[in-house]
């Protein structure tokens, strides 16, 4: 599903650029669909570079696919514009990372959990790198704040037999569930947990750093409500840039269609690329990379710019709650775009230790750098 959303957004951006007077060049999109088959990404990119002579590639959703593409863009000195949030610990000169880095997605969510829900958490996720690394970060922060990981349950990718874990959650009644499942596994788990919790008369908060609007529809109206989600983009962001973007999107794809963080981020990738080419006066990779650095773009998700230190983007982290109607209600956002920290080298774990146990203090301190919206 995400691949389709990302392609639609990329093509929308291309059309807008080609029709705009603000750019004195046009983009010719060349599409390839590796279909999620990891080994195909290398072949598809090699083909784009050798046959179509493209200089810039937008795409890749999973880290596994990105790792396939990096050797070839590094060897041939091309740029990959990567839209998806990921687990960090990478920084290639030939990738512009437009999705959120871990300090921009998981860290604010864990901070919120510690301050407002509980320091004891039940983790469930898909058995691959995203969950392993999210769980590691959660564990580090939670244990620094004297909290506990109550459980760490993993499901194979695509697995939808979730009953045993749902039963365990209902039996143990953890104060909060951190969900790093992806795709059908996540939808099945949220539906089953919602049904079981309703039967048991329980309300167990759930956290996610990947849920997006089109997924709420797939999960279903009742089961998708109430998930606290961290993301740099929600369709419900106020502001003229986003309202206009959403209107253009719906005009193109229908009133019933929803935006997603990854779709929006793909749009931002293409726009950042176009603006960098315009600034550089050339599509040559080195010139574009230099021109993209620190060049602010007022995107649908707010101001975005590339940090030349690590080729990741300054983004504004946000937290929201999923609502009836398959939308998110944003209840917190950072005061300003946050510097990307892909290696979490600026994560101060001792600060989490100091936060625990003194609620009044915490509220006072929090107000310095957090702003409540709505």
């Amino acid at each position: 599903m995400m691949a389709g959303e990302m392609r639609k957004s990329a093509l929308m951006a291309v059309d807008e650029i080609n029709q705009s007077d603000a750019f004195d060049f046009t983009f010719t999109p060349h599409l390839r669909n590796p279909g999620g088959i990891v080994a195909e990404y290398h072949t598809a990119c090699a083909d784009l570079i050798r046959e179509e002579h493209v200089g810039h590639i937008v795409g890749c959703y999973t880290s596994a696919s990105r790792k396939q593409v990096i050797p070839i863009v590094e060897r041939t000195e091309r740029l990959l514009w990567h839209p998806a949030r990921y687990e960090g610990f990478e920084s290639s000169d030939n990738v512009i990372y437009v999705g959120a880095a871990p300090n921009q997605h998981v860290v604010p969510l864990v901070r919120h959990m510690l301050d407002h829900i509980s320091a004891d958490v039940f983790c469930i996720g898909s058995n691959y790198i995203w969950t392993w690394e999210m769980n590691r970060v959660i564990r580090e922060i939670v244990t620094s704040a004297s909290g506990r990981i109550l459980a760490e349950r993993l499901l194979e990718l695509g697995e939808t037999a979730v009953d045993h874990i749902v039963t365990e959650v209902i039996d143990r009644r953890p104060p909060v569930v951190f969900n790093t499942l992806v795709g059908e596994s996540s939808y099945a788990f949220m539906r089953a947990l919602h049904a079981a919790a309703t039967r048991a008369g329980l309300s167990i908060p759930m956290l996610s750093c990947s849920l997006c609007e089109p997924e709420l529809k797939l999960i279903g109206s009742a089961a998708s409500v109430g998930c606290i989600t961290s993301s740099a983009y929600f369709e419900s962001i106020e502001g003229t840039e986003n309202r206009s973007f959403v209107a253009r999107w719906k005009a193109r794809h229908g009133e019933d269609s929803s935006l997603s963080v990854d779709g929006q981020s793909t749009y931002v990738c293409v726009m950042l690329l176009a603006r960098a080419i315009r600034r550089a006066g050339s599509a040559e990779v080195g010139a574009v990379r230099r021109a993209a650095a620190n060049h602010r773009y007022d995107s649908p998700q707010g101001p975005v710019w590339v940090d030349p230190d690590n080729n990741h983007c300054f983004l504004t982290p946000r937290l929201a709650r999923s609502m009836p109607g398959c939308q998110f209600s944003i209840f917190w956002e950072a005061d300003a775009p946050e510097r990307p920290d892909p290696y979490l080298s600026n994560l101060d774990l001792s600060a989490f230790g100091r936060r625990s146990g003194k609620s009044n203090d915490a509220v006072a301190k929090r107000s310095n750098h957090l702003r409540i919206v709505k």
Binding site: K67, I70, G88, F89, I129, W132, E133, N135, R136
Partner: protein
Amino acid sequence: MTRPSPFSIRGRRALMVMRDEREISIVRRQLGRLGMTISEHDPAEPPPIRPSDVILLDADSIPIKSDHATLWKGSVPIIAVIGTETPSRLKWLLDLRPASFLVKPLRSAGLYTALVIAFDSAQRRVEQAAHIEKLEDRIRSRRVVFAAILQVMRGHDMSETEAFALIRQTAMRHRTTIEVLSAQILAAGGMPNRNTRTA
């Protein structure tokens, strides 16, 4: 025992536990140039029984939380082939105690160095383990040595220094260790017959 040179690669057996065909072909070609015997193994399967001298393990292709992930841990040196540098993945790797590593994307350069370092560190590991075992034996024998010194002190009316000197000299004459002689002293209830050769 002569120490096998880590630089002699020819004839050693390499097991490739990798998935990516491109990477496999790069490694296979280079190992072939070095004269190694090569076999391949599916990362999804538990480790094979057949012996090898070095394992090239693609860290990205084995789930961290899988039943047989830690079965790779053993005496055969592992060269970790690393794509993902997240701490969760590296923690898993550390548990396997890799002897060396390679970073993707692979190329022909670097593999020889990785092999040499792997063979050398595996050899050092074996030597260190033997050395530690010897030291531990000696620590365990301290109680025996101490009891023998006390016995000689009482039996010969000597100071501790004199008793230890006598035991050490006797051990040297008998061409045995202080620990072995001490055990004999305790068993015999006194200094053993000086004319007896132990070795």
